[in-house]
């Protein structure tokens, strides 16, 4: 499957069957809600994994692309009546385009500065969205976004259909990411990640590949954003702040940079754990900070990672 653990074709089948059956074995709407959110987070983590894990580009403002995807669907739905299914590719494209546009000036910036540039970009998007009341509803956000429907079946506010949809998208994204990582592009990204100068000398078109990584990762965030808006029915700018970007980065790092399966696990763990720890909610962020420091000290390659993280 991945990570060179040998060919075991029945593993993915079992996982998919397990996931499909889960809602019927005693999980209630709340559990499914958490898992559906975990699916969304997994999608985001896979996208960020392309940027940070595959291509080695630091990114602290990933939530901006998530926001762009969400608002794209919201505006298309509220003003033009589009259904979510049609908006999914459009959200992907707008977010992907934003990723490329951000990338064009930024890719020449060196490592740690790039992190700050992306952070700045993330904050700029959030504040602009908060201020442009005419378009984005400002701090109130946008309400009354239509939930998706399949034929005559309305998704509504039930959790089960979103659970299936988000994990279906995760599955598709997972396969795509694995294929990407094993393709020429993936190998070129690995080369850039390990030693950019050598890659450039070897004829790799570093700039174009970096932009591709940004575009792909951002597009995935756009898809997640579209689904998020459809699921919530309401979106506000405070769902897309710096803490969200850090969370997604933490999921990627926890799971293991570059490991597609790993980041999914990282996403699930970091989505479910806060719910299980509701009793100690006050200490949540403290524990999160400590966990980040400890993981970087003791196991920087994450749970499933291989080799060293990006330089």
């Amino acid at each position: 499957m991945t990570n060179g653990r040998g060919q075991r074709p029945w593993v993915p089948v079992l996982v998919v069957a397990g996931c499909a059956v889960l809602p019927w074995v005693g999980l209630n709407a709340y559990h499914l809600e958490v898992l559906a959110t975990a699916g969304l987070n997994a999608l985001l983590a896979l996208g960020l994994n392309i940027i940070v894990g595959f291509a080695g580009l630091l990114n602290l403002g990933f939530a901006a692309f998530f926001a762009i995807g969400a608002y794209t669907y919201a505006l298309l739905n509220l003003h033009l009546g589009w259904a979510m299914w049609w908006a999914l590719p459009v959200s992907a494209m707008t977010a992907g385009l934003a990723g490329v546009l951000l990338g064009m000036p930024a890719i020449r910036v060196r490592g740690d500065y790039l992190a700050i540039v992306t952070l700045g970009f993330g904050e700029i998007v959030r504040i602009v969205v908060t201020n442009l009341e005419q378009w984005t509803g400002g701090p109130n956000g946008l309400l009354g976004i239509a939930h998706p429907s399949l034929g005559r079946y309305q998704f509504g506010v039930e959790s089960r259909p979103y659970y299936y949809l988000s994990w279906l998208l995760v599955w598709i994204a997972f396969v795509a990411c694995v294929r990407l990582s094993q393709s020429r592009i993936g190998r070129a990204w690995a080369a850039i990640r390990e030693d950019e100068l050598a890659a450039r000398c070897a004829g790799v078109d570093v700039d174009r590949l970096k932009l591709t990584a940004l575009g792909c990762g951002a597009a995935m965030a756009g898809v997640a954003g579209c689904l998020f808006a459809a699921k919530q029915g309401t979106i506000t700018p405070d769902s897309f702040d710096f803490i969200q970007s850090v969370m997604i980065l933490a999921m990627v790092v926890l799971g293991g940079l570059g490991s597609c399966g790993g980041v999914i696990v990282g996403a699930v763990v970091l989505s479910v754990l806060p719910e299980l720890l509701r009793g100690v909610a006050m200490y949540r962020m403290l524990l999160f900070g400590v966990a980040l420091v400890v993981i970087m000290r003791c196991r920087p390659q994450g749970l499933w990672g291989h080799g060293t993280p990006a330089r």
Partner: protein
């Protein structure tokens, strides 16, 4: 109020704010000069300084202005804050950064972010999540200079800032330890070969940077009279912008950058819009990093990549 009164007021406001930015920026710039590390947790150290100042007042059970002896109280706050923050800064360096000195940038960045969350939340759990009031120990004296209002606090802010920065400048330039710091920043390997205890110098750099942030924090707390555990994040980012603006690694640059950013923000928010104030700062930051990362006065870092 005529246009030049308004402009003068904006400039005065900007100078006061700029002094705080400069004090924090110095910490960023010194650490970056020596380690090429953006110390994300530095903003929280600044915030800690303000809380230490508050603690000093709480310990002394101060609730209002103390006309005669405010000087001593402010000094006391500063001393406690400097002590607390320097220790914190050294601890962060020792626990989080030193073991990762050879690690890739991403690990350091995440560790720094993690540390900043830890500091924020420790303060939140200790002091509460809501704004805490800092009793104004200084009597509120306002002067009207050229049609604009100047408070005693603003004067103290700017003067303290200048004094501290001058002291730092002299320390770096005129003392042996200061030379050692400069040498370590220029070439740590050679410095080590020359017998300079590089690890200790690095610890000292963190301590010094944190001490400056502590002074900034106490002054900030007194100036706004409220403090919240969230204050470190945004101030830290803006101070980082100031450091880059002046030229990262460059100490006079940090001072210039801080003052300039304060003035720009004040004038921008006053004449354009307050809503977009933070966007200005972030746009300046992004444009700087993309177009002119060496800032106004040029960087002073060794290219280690």
């Amino acid at each position: 109020m005529t246009w030049y009164h308004t402009l003068l007021q904006h400039l005065i406001n900007g100078l006061a704010l700029g002094a705080v930015y400069a004090l924090i920026a110095l910490g960023y710039t010194m650490v970056y000069g020596i380690l090429q590390l953006i110390n994300f947790a530095h903003g929280e150290v600044f915030m800690l300084g303000a809380y230490f100042g508050l603690s000093a007042l709480l310990l002394g059970q101060v609730t209002g202005p103390l006309p005669g002896v405010w000087c001593w109280w402010v000094t006391g706050m500063m001393l406690l804050a400097i002590l607390g923050c320097s220790l914190t800064g050294c601890a962060i360096e020792r626990l989080a950064y030193r073991p990762l000195r050879r690690a890739p940038k991403l690990s350091l960045l995440i560790t720094a972010i993690g540390m900043s969350f830890v500091l924020q939340n420790v303060v939140m759990l200790t002091y509460g999540a809501q704004d805490r009031h800092i009793p104004s120990v200084m009597p509120t004296i306002r002067w009207t200079v050229g049609g604009a209002s100047v408070t005693a606090m603003q004067v103290v802010l700017v003067c303290s800032g200048l004094v501290v920065m001058l002291a730092l400048h002299l320390f770096i330039r005129r003392t042996r330890v200061g030379w050692a710091m400069q040498a370590t920043a220029q070439d740590p390997v050679a410095a080590r070969l020359m017998g300079i205890p590089v690890d200790r110098i690095i610890a000292l750099t963190f301590a010094l940077g944190s001490a400056l942030a502590a002074v900034g924090g106490v002054l900030f707390g007194l100036y706004y009279a409220t403090v919240n555990f969230h204050d470190g994040y945004l101030m830290g980012l803006k101070a980082f912008t100031a450091a880059v603006l002046g030229g990262i690694g460059n100490i006079p640059g940090a001072m210039l950058g801080g003052t300039l950013l304060g003035l720009l923000e004040s004038v921008g928010a006053g004449y354009l819009s307050s809503q977009w104030k933070n966007v200005f700062a972030f746009v300046i930051l992004v444009l700087l990093l993309i177009c002119r990362p060496r800032g106004l006065l040029g960087e002073r870092v060794v290219d280690r990549d």
